[in-house]
Symmetry: C2
Subunit: 553 residues, 2 copies
């Protein structure tokens, strides 16, 4: 299909895609929901360049550094595309020494040369939505607000009850490893093995610890007893009651933080979806305190629960330098690939100091994976057939003309009406034809679900009138054939009808028990007079099984 | 200042910068103003990847191709950062053969390895805001709507009367060149010389035509007579009256288009700032019909009018492969560098076919240079001292506690109040201290201009009350010391006060003759009872001199 002389395939680079149509509308809605929450908590935004000096990113990502995209050396500086939004934020803090504290959010694309699984939202170019609190503050107050923000984001997205915020503390993990007998130099690598428990069964993780990383069977089994534990304050009490653990200094520091955290989360009224989960470890080296990860149904791979005979592929372990067809291949249909976590983060008190030296600024933050949230949202909307309700554009009025023999098309009149509507801020379109056919104009309006038509003919123009026709009225409706109004009154007449229609649509959807936000249906927050159904017992956010359960609305 | 072992400078790559604070607020306001206009005209957005296969960009930008950023070859595909948003849009149209027409907008960063002049908005990473109409339609209807959109954007930005939309037509330019005797193979290169008339005096352009490009003096002088002409319909009439020009086929086609265009622009009521300018040529090869360029004060370099003894530097002509300190150097203070055009575009009917072959889709569009618009907006705001009115964040309420000896800090109570406010969608903050000092809490609120404080002490908590205090009330105001309200009523009490304050602020600013939009002051659109001052005669958008004139408000 390529024109003569064009030898390449017409496509976007592997692991990237164009965003269009309803997907864009849904994604924008996710962005605006998240931004609204961030601003509600006083955050300001900072925009850093897409590429950084290569040295800025060096030594920040451990093994994953090989996934960084470099720019070609075309003379001058050597640069790389950003891998996340956290390191650029730390670089910015180090550069701006007058800023000693800030709440900042950043919604932007990041780049990783990883093996893609497009339909699951695993891409090489993808968006992150980060919120971070930087500054020297009293312990756990910012950390608790991050949890509260997370619950507001998922509430805003209509995910009530359908997600779990796993939390853990690096000092507790380290304490457990120490108590179990892991030597100090092996703590990070054993922690990184534990981090795979959400993707691999315990036997696999145990094998990595013992066979690959040389831990004794006895130590591995001791670790195994702890990392299956999850709960809330009850788990904290259990750990506190263990005299061996309480004797460990790192453990005591971590438990003191968790004690404060639970107090603050109660005051913030946001404990419902929180799970204190000792298997949560997070891969990145730079976390120093509390860590977070949000999972939902679809986060874990389908194949996790089966007894794997062979280990699933580990994409990030392959050297990307020798990328072949295998590595570039899309793994969207691979059952061993889950969507993964939909948000993650933690406290990183030493990262800014890696750039600025003495001027250390402690930080805590979370990053929302919008592309994964999008994949899940879209799958749910398609299952509910809600995606049909999403409009492509937001046009309110289609301006049309009609006439019989000798029809001139009334183009100047249509343009003038559009200009009047635009002047008033009303979204309007017309067909770019001098003499358009009426059915073609209605078709163009219907394709985009435009709710209102303004129709003119020679008679209307002569009388200084226009006909306003609401689309899709039932037969017998008094305004089915449209109403004639003065051209001079077109703006208030249209405004009044748009408002009435919006109210009616809302009432109709509330009667169906549906909530519509900016054209996207979600679950009802609370419908007047209809009490919200209590969550069934098996849907406790704390049980791992519940993640697969989709509550009916 | 770098920590031990860190040998590189802490900065962003040359020609890029971090966006923060008030700059971000102003830039976001520009984005939302432009997006609102685009949506009002029925546009939908498409998001393409930041990098494309290198071959997609090849052969699209002529000499400027050397400014393209390439990604390093790390195995797999060879990619480049996008240079504009037009070529990715054409690639998308060619890939999506079911889409035969669309109005799309795209606001995103593009990349050019050009010599930077940061304070003038000339950067290597910068935003473009593109609006394009693709599809086979009747002539000049979409082209006219692009002009209308442009006027709405600058009206939305408060630039009434301060800009000029230059228009010209490639077929008219080509016709003039043919009539003057330029041979067909020289038309594009001579056109590219004419395009420099906004930056260079005529003598320089003439020299380029004759000495560099081998045109005879006679032909150059003939061209010189035409390219100084500007006007509106009067200029079109003058060209139509010229029998030599009218005999030229390209000229006739171009003039027929312009005739239609002026008719439509009148109907759209958007002729005021339009200048039909025969010196406008546009550099890019792919334009086939109408071309646009929007200029304002500051667009032209300061040095243009002086008799240049040496030609100003031509950054895009230098080979970027040998980029040295000279090339990377920021030219912000170079008087020979103007901000340039703030928007530009045109009709490109053959670009999609370069990808798709037979499936040709005609397009017309415009691109707004947000960074340049930002530079000008910011300079104007600083001149007017309006930038002081821009708040960093949008927080409505600061939640504080106070107490005497034995003060506990009331941290749980503060958190619970914040949770209640957030639940209601009210933007709120508190100080991350367990026992904060009251002056520190007020200071934190004042730094960000937070309008309302909620203050609690032991007494208030015991009574189930809170004190609401509006910040900055004059002495003697009945609520100067705050009002005590029931904790249970906190949400409606705060909402009512925020609404009242917003109304009062608006009244006060209207009294000053100022319009405030989202925290940014602009010129008043129309203040009730105060008729808008007529534009003074010397401010006609058609005179080149007027571009430098700033009307007082």
């Amino acid at each position: 299909m390529a024109p003569k002389g064009q030898k390449f395939e017409l496509k976007t680079p592997k692991g990237t895609k164009d965003w269009e149509g309803k997907d864009m509308v849904i994604r924008d809605k996710i962005f605006s929901t998240i931004t609204e929450v961030f601003k509600r908590h006083g955050a300001v935004t900072i925009d850093t360049p897409v590429f950084e000096l290569k040295e800025i990113l060096s030594g920040k990502y451990g093994e994953d550094s090989k996934l960084i995209y470099d720019l070609a050396d075309q003379g001058g500086e050597i640069c790389s595309l950003r891998y996340d939004l956290t390191v650029p934020f730390a670089r910015w803090l180090a550069m701006n020494r007058d800023v000693q504290n800030i709440k900042r959010y950043h919604i932007a694309k990041v780049y990783r040369r990883d093996q893609p699984a497009m339909t699951k939202g695993r891409m090489r170019e993808f968006y992150q939505c980060d919120f971070d609190i930087a500054g020297v503050y009293d312990p756990m107050l910012p950390d608790a607000e991050i949890v509260r923000i997370t619950t507001e984001v998922f509430k805003g997205l209509g995910w009530n009850g359908r997600y779990t915020i796993k939390i853990n503390h690096r000092k507790i993990l380290d304490g457990i490893f120490e108590v179990c007998g892991v030597s100090t130099n092996k703590i990070r690598t054993i922690s990184s093995a534990v981090d795979k428990l959400d993707k691999l069964p315990w036997e696999e993780v145990r094998k990595e610890m013992t066979v690959e990383k040389g831990l004794s069977d006895e130590i591995a089994d001791k670790i195994g007893e702890y990392v299956v534990l999850k709960g809330q304050k009850d788990l904290l009490r259990k750990l506190q009651a263990d005299p061996v653990l309480s004797a460990n200094e790192s453990m005591r520091a971590g438990m003191a933080d968790m004690e404060l955290l639970f107090t603050y989360l109660e005051a913030f009224n946001c404990l419902d979806n929180v799970s204190f989960d000792l298997s949560l470890a997070r891969g990145l080296d730079y976390y120093t305190g509390l860590i977070y990860e949000v999972v939902t149904e679809g986060s874990a791979p389908l194949a996790t629960t089966s007894t794997a005979t062979a280990a699933p592929p580990k994409p990030s372990k392959k050297p990307s330098g020798k990328a072949g067809a295998d590595f570039d291949e899309d793994r969207s249909s691979d059952p061993s690939v889950g969507v993964g976590s939909v948000a993650a983060g933690g406290r990183y008190d030493n990262l800014v100091g890696m750039f600025s030296g003495k001027n250390q600024i402690p930080c805590v933050g979370i990053s929302f994976g919008v592309d994964r949230i999008f994949s899940i949202t879209k799958a749910r909307m398609e299952a509910d057939k809600n995606s049909e309700l999403v409009r492509n554009n937001e046009v309110d009025v289609y301006v049309m003309a009609f006439g019989g023999k000798g029809f001139t098309g009334l183009v100047k009149e249509r343009l003038a009406i559009c200009a009047t509507l635009w002047e008033a801020g009303i979204k309007a379109e017309f067909l770019y034809k001098v003499k358009p056919k009426l059915p073609n104009q209605f078709k163009a309006a219907e394709v985009n679900g435009v709710p209102m038509a303004v129709v003119i003919g020679e008679d209307e123009v002569a009388q200084g009138k226009v006909k306003i026709k609401e689309m899709g009225l039932r037969d017998g409706h008094p305004e089915k054939d449209g109403v004639l109004v003065d051209l001079a009154d077109i703006v208030p007449e249209i405004r009044q009808r748009l408002k009435r229609k919006a109210n009616l649509d809302q009432l109709a959807q509330e009667a169906e028990g549906l909530r519509v936000v900016d054209g996207i249906k979600g679950e009802p927050e609370k419908v007047e007079g209809v009490p919200k159904t209590e969550k069934p017992a098996e849907e406790s956010p704390l049980s791992q099984e519940a993640i697969g359960a989709v509550p009916t609305s």
